[in-house]
């Protein structure tokens, strides 16, 4: 089969998987939060979330009605064929998924407010490219909810404040976000590079599973420290109070300019939807995060 057809099918499948079935690590974290939450109202919210996840799987329907802005991350093997066909194939996959899953049409022209109706438009779906050695193509989709997107924040820390400045930046962002991003949330945090680079890395950090600590032990420790701190806020599930505000913290970084300390915090809602598949040169497909099961 030609690459475009395969990519379109894979794009459709991972989108459908992502919006219906939450990854196992996210489900496990929510179950743990439910067991440990002490606020009565907070517990009712986590119960509703867990019930809803089960219903979504049972009825094969999107776990949340906000099926998000659709973002792809493509690791393209430099020796893979037809790389120029991938973007078009993914756009077709999005159109098909919008009709058939179905997804909510979430692509609006910011100037005339018209909804395209099929989740595509200028730069949407957005495709992040990475060229890697080899001949395989690995595609990840993230469908990113609007509520959690609205509180993402980028800023500049005074370099002299260093990591303490970063910690304050994150705590302030979580407190400011409060109930808005559908807590419990996952935080992607990144520093360095530049305003754009830190935000891109922060969002990409959300792809790392919750049960995978940072490979750098010092950053793993910082992730844990920030996690414990932000859960002292008392915002709780859906902002109704409780000790579960953040399920996990994921940090990444780039080297920085001596005069700049860019920082970014990307929030994901509890419906942290992602799915990945890998296409080999011979056209075989491996689904890495989900079983192809419907």
């Amino acid at each position: 089969m030609e690459t475009a057809k395969i990519v379109e099918t894979v794009g459709f499948n991972i989108l459908k998987q992502a919006v219906i079935y939450l990854p196992d690590d996210v489900k496990a974290a929510l179950k743990k939060a439910y067991a440990e939450e002490t606020s009565e109202t907070g517990k009712t919210q986590l119960k509703a979330i867990l019930d809803n996840i089960e219903l979504a799987e049972k009825y094969k329907a999107p776990v949340c009605q906000d099926t998000g802005t659709i973002i792809f991350y493509v690791k393209a093997g430099a020796k893979a064929k037809d790389l120029d066909k991938i973007e078009g194939a993914l756009i077709n996959a999005v159109k098909r998924a919008t009709k058939e899953v179905p997804l909510r049409p979430n692509a609006v022209n910011p100037f005339d407010q018209k909804n395209s109706g099929d989740n595509t438009g200028r730069y949407i779906p957005f495709v992040n490219w990475e060229i890697v050695p080899g001949d395989q193509i690995e595609i990840t989709v993230m469908t990113k909810g609007g509520g959690s997107e609205n509180v993402c924040i980028g800023g500049m820390i005074v370099p002299g404040e260093g990591i303490n400045g970063l910690k304050k930046f994150v705590v302030d962002a979580v407190i400011k976000a409060g109930s808005q991003p559908c807590p419990p949330n996952i935080l992607g945090i990144a520093v360095g590079g530049g305003a754009d680079i830190s935000m891109k890395l922060a969002k990409k950090a959300l792809l790392r599973p919750l049960d995978e600590p940072n490979p750098d032990p010092a950053l793993a420790k910082l992730e844990q420290e920030i996690l414990e701190a932000v859960n002292m806020t008392g915002i709780g599930p859906m902002g109704l109070g409780g000790k579960t505000t953040i399920l996990g913290v994921k940090i990444d970084y780039a080297f920085r300019h001596p005069a700049s300390f860019p920082a970014a915090v990307a929030f994901n809602c509890w419906a942290a939807r992602r799915s990945t598949a890998r296409i080999s040169a011979d056209g075989t497909v491996e689904y890495l995060t989900h079983k192809l099961d419907w």
């Binding site: 919210q45 009605q65 049409p105 909810g145 303490n164 409060g178 808005q180 806020t233």
Partner: protein
């Protein structure tokens, strides 16, 4: 934490019985309205034009559903709440003009809406954000859709619902607002968190 089950149209007297932390289920007509529908409804009111549906005693739901259509029949596939604060801009006028008794959403609303709920008699019922299938299963029928030119998320969907909930009454008609209370205690925790992290404020 009492549990109430109300049928629309809901009277002002009934809605005034509710207190924060009560749990509410609504049976009857629930109408969706997000930013654009709020804006248009208020424009209609200003021009003396009737709304496509009389909202008095009904529940208004901050929701942009996933819908599917077979023939002429719409179905709500997934229908959780959207962030309500965006509607703070309109809600006081909305409650005053249309006598809606229950606002359903997520994330809570601010002081302006809280004051309006006390004045005109309405409550805010928080539905768990993202729990879209739980919500869709309580929607038994899509009665109609209005203002579809706004796009499916922003259109006005008129749902027939059965025991739609659980809704946590988080703003009541007596000036209480759980979200504002939580925000206050979160603010008080800020100093403790800074201290734990060794941050100077």
């Amino acid at each position: 934490m009492a549990t109430y089950k109300f049928k629309t149209p809901i009277s002002e007297a009934d809605v005034r019985k509710l207190r924060v932390n009560d749990v509410l289920y609504v049976t009857g007509t629930i109408v969706t309205a997000r930013d654009q529908a709020h804006r248009r409804a208020l424009e209609f009111f200003k021009q003396g034009k009737p709304l496509p549906v009389n909202l008095e005693g009904l529940a208004v739901f901050h929701c942009g559903p996933v819908v599917s259509k077979e023939g002429d029949k719409w179905t709500a596939v997934a229908a959780g709440p959207t962030t309500s604060t965006r509607m703070d801009l309109f809600e006081d006028e909305f409650l005053k003009n249309f006598k809606v008794r229950v606002i359903i959403g997520k994330g809570g609303m601010g002081k302006r809406t809280t004051d309006a709920m006390a004045k005109y008699g309405a409550v805010y019922g928080a539905f768990t954000g993202g729990a879209a299938i739980l919500a869709a299963k309580a929607i038994k029928n899509v009665k109609s859709v209005e203002w579809l030119d706004l796009g499916t998320p922003e259109a006005m969907w008129i749902f027939q619902a059965e025991e739609f909930g659980p809704l946590v009454v988080s703003i009541d008609s007596h000036g209480n607002n759980i979200f504002m209370d939580v925000a206050k205690s979160v603010e008080a925790n800020r100093a403790k968190i800074y201290q734990k992290l060794g941050i100077s404020p």
